[in-house]
Symmetry: C2
Subunit: 686 residues, 2 copies
Amino acid sequence: MNKLILAVLACAALPAVADEGMWTYNNFPADKVAAKYHFKPDQAWLDKVRLGSARLAQGCSASFVSPDGLVLTNHHCAHSCIEQLSTKTKDFVKDGFVAKALADEKKCPELEVNQLTDITDVTKRVQGAVAGKSGAAFAEAQKAEFAKITKECATSDDVRCDVVTLYAGGAYNLYKYKRYQDVRLAFAPEFAIAFFGGDPDNFMFPRYDLDMALVRVYDGGKPLQTTSYLPVAKTGAKAGDLAFVSGHPGKTSRNATVAELSFIRDVEQPARLLRLAELRGRLTEFANRGKEQKRISNAILFYVENGYKARSGYWNALRDPAFFQSKVAEQDKLVASVKDPGKKTALQQSIAAIAAAQKTKTDLYVPYLQLEGMQAFMSDLFPLARGLVRAADELPLPNEKRLKGYTDAELPGLKQMLESPAPIYPELEEATLAFGLTKFREQLGPDHKTVKAVLGKKSPETLARELSKSKLRDVKERKKLFDGGKKAIEASTDPMIVLARAVDAEARALRKRWEDEVESVTNKESETIAKARFDAFGTSVYPDATFTLRLTYGAVEGWKEAGADVSPITTIGGAFERHTGEDPFALPASWLKSKDKLTLTKGMNFVTTDDIIGGNSGSPVINQKGEVIGLIFDGNIHSLGGDYGFNPANNRAVAVHTDAILEALEKIYGAKHLADELTGAKKPTG
Amino acid sequence: MNKLILAVLACAALPAVADEGMWTYNNFPADKVAAKYHFKPDQAWLDKVRLGSARLAQGCSASFVSPDGLVLTNHHCAHSCIEQLSTKTKDFVKDGFVAKALADEKKCPELEVNQLTDITDVTKRVQGAVAGKSGAAFAEAQKAEFAKITKECATSDDVRCDVVTLYAGGAYNLYKYKRYQDVRLAFAPEFAIAFFGGDPDNFMFPRYDLDMALVRVYDGGKPLQTTSYLPVAKTGAKAGDLAFVSGHPGKTSRNATVAELSFIRDVEQPARLLRLAELRGRLTEFANRGKEQKRISNAILFYVENGYKARSGYWNALRDPAFFQSKVAEQDKLVASVKDPGKKTALQQSIAAIAAAQKTKTDLYVPYLQLEGMQAFMSDLFPLARGLVRAADELPLPNEKRLKGYTDAELPGLKQMLESPAPIYPELEEATLAFGLTKFREQLGPDHKTVKAVLGKKSPETLARELSKSKLRDVKERKKLFDGGKKAIEASTDPMIVLARAVDAEARALRKRWEDEVESVTNKESETIAKARFDAFGTSVYPDATFTLRLTYGAVEGWKEAGADVSPITTIGGAFERHTGEDPFALPASWLKSKDKLTLTKGMNFVTTDDIIGGNSGSPVINQKGEVIGLIFDGNIHSLGGDYGFNPANNRAVAVHTDAILEALEKIYGAKHLADELTGAKKPTG
């Protein structure tokens, strides 16, 4: 879900300027908005927008758009679900999907929708629990306290609770969500228009994508009845409009130290990019095997290409010497701002300790990602095997002693994965496993003890073929193993279970070193740095993104590209002009057929100055009245790099215009009933 | 041909220490060898070794090993030929090839063997021609003078002449070769043993590869009769032996400025690696389409994987901050060594001018490689089309006005390419063209004018399919177009010719800018730097590699790896221990069957301290008696990075032991006649 990434040049450690900032709902700078845009959101407005916002647990944003639980998000956020519902003979990715009535809506095997109901400050509690601790003890104590807090909060399976580390440990907040796991697909257009322009146009603008999907949340088997929703405006965005975006930016590193940024630039991004490039080559050719292979690999190829382009952008930002130097200067400035000699020394020591941890991180990086990160066993089957093997070990432990992912509060997510009827395709499994195992041998070397233990005398291809025949494809088999606990796991001869068992000790050992020597050092020392930043700026700054709900503000506004103005809004007619008839510039037949019925001057896509990043995909763009006027689905090319800073001059969020959404539903897809539900004109029919 | 790359830490701008140095034959430090190894090669010895050395024009080294024109080189150097001689039903790459008698030897469609007969100093002539010129005028004058010199020298088609720029323009030498284009395959083992261990073991040691092939040079339809050859020793290399290597290192950048190294580190290697990674993914999956597809893509996949691993090594060397800093210090030291203020200023200005040219190079890099470098049109067909289109334009021009590649002296190479009966596979063409065109659109953008002109409304896949149907596969068609000249080219509707015509003006324009603004600036300013280096060191240093014949010296010697000794010689028995039965660790059936007959304690591969790099593949390792005791085929992992400097502690050349060659020929392949010819025991039979 890296689709949305925003690039930046200014410094995030200093108070935000321009429209910069991914603000938490309990620290929104309403006065700043008022000063610039003459509209001050009050608490009622903020509450309404917060409750109308939704998160897709798999990594996207969304919004409730009707009193009957209809949720608007991106096609690319629902892509997995759409593919999972498809079959060899009925391909909803290619052909789109329209539920004519409630009864036609199809349950997504793995989608989970979260609605943020409460934010509680638990800073004192967490900081108290870890006070005076470091290394493994720090990690252990923090994990235990998190597990305790979330267990107290998550009183039933439909409540999800996360302790969120904000300001790099400057604050800890408990986020409480209503969790919905019965989510059904109501509408998706054809992939060809959802991702019109494909990889070449990705992160570009002007743009012409109907990257939307409608799903509906069900509660007790019936459409959710709610007053917390944001209706779609009858008329969408206009140039100059004030535009809020409420969504879940995934991760930013704007407050990272120079050593952490060096690690990202010199180790992480090159390694990830080279892997993605090779995988992209494999998947592109895999799709050439035939129509069915193209269908089953469509989603993963999309994620790989999107990730590749996004990471190229991150990397290029950090490789720009002037930009990198600005991050060095920013850190120096922070140190210089601390006058108290003791505090200054503490800050410098923390910066040095994080730098030392990056060296360890570099040493551990490859084996950690291969074994604990599961790169070696790239597949849908291996995570199931690992989940089962670890559940058998972890669930008998006291809640606060368990690994992350296996606490009581997290069990519904684990169960959803294990019980998912989503299809798993052996041919694709075999291909990705062969790739993963080949890279595993390449990166650790054929004489590495774990490589030898895993491969034995087999080639990666031979082992991949065997593993792809695992019975874990069958939900019943997984259930049996889950219910059978440790004994069943130990007795299993399923090749995936055997593999997961064989590498688990080493994977856990790497994880422990990673947590104790890298993460907990970074977390602990980042607190010192965060405190120094707090002393200087307080909450006049926003915390780095954490895949929790944030509100940004901005305007519908173009930018200057090589001296020329880029207009902020494209039209439906523009899509027809860009049509060549060949993928990815081929409009679907439904559009070509309907051209005469459409108002071609209506808005198709637009850009805003909002500060967003990957995870914001599916976020509503909201006007002052709390109506949805657009649907975020991308950032422009300049936005790549926003992981590290924000440049208001040319960093733009890219959204689907709601006029195009209403026009297409009504005139192309015969879904006037959905258009009417979005605008509040009509209720859904059973 | 990047197989052989040597890595380095010391500084090449300072006089060579240890066994460092790729010495020209007219400046070999015989006294240094004598001082260290108590053997001083005299002129007769040097002449004998020089004339016994051979170059494969396509990018490898070799040696004449019998009075009847037998030539020893690597399997990977003859790989293309072996594949070109194979068919769907007879796969010599997989099964190997043994000519039982001369009549069975098969002509390689494209191999050209060169023997260096003379070296003449033409420094004054070239420097005189370019004196006082810069930019385009410098490039033009140099090109004209080169063409004049080589035309005077190349009095017939079987003479090849190249003006070689040594010491970055400090000296120009005319290298005159005897050119042999009738080269026939006599022996090749199975790919499985030639490249045993495959990509995982590539650049590694201990190693167990029989990476050898024997070809025979024919002259007037008969085996070449010659006294200039190096016999194979009856007993091969032993630990501690003095070992010379005579071969053609392709390119080193040890004297490059810091700005040039930065370009390689920051622009060239990342771009090349990402492309190779993706191409590797595509080709790996292409081979999965079926047995025949695996066969026809075997050679290109090998080159791609080899290039990927080699470039990773180069890149990692430059990304090591300590090493890079040593190159900065080296340059600073050179500047400091110049005492004359005028000369110092000139040196600094030259360094600055080269740095400025790197900026231009960065801007031009992508379009230049795509269009002039033919990355966009990756195939075997496009270079033929370009050759035809350009020949039609260039050949009517006066010799000294023509593009490089089209002068009279170079015509035999062009004709060999156009007349080659080597098979071209439409399915593989389509796949590589689709890749090339996709990256072309990705890197220049779908709205770039040339991308639009080339693709029109077509997708890369559609256009690739059309182009792969070009009639240029047919030698007769090529001949018709070549003979028909400009008129025939203009009238052609062959899709490849149409494409080559369409992009030629822009490709030439990019080439002109590249030559005038990058290459000629670098060449000219490098002369100033070279002069400063000459003032300091004279010819006590060796010039950077230029794919011309060099002689190195060293010893058969292991190294310390993580504190443990790596023994310098592996045995035939070791190959059987490493055998798993699965590719790439599966010995061929011929070996398994013959195990009992083999002396398992005999040498298989070994390492030496010789300073070699890519292009040295196929070089003979020679003892004091002028006998061949080994066959260079690789460098160890530490050797990667030798592009920039030499580290005697662990940089090792890797060779096939001649004992293994003789043992295998006689006892595995039933080719005692060839073993006997190599040792001089017997003449070949018709």
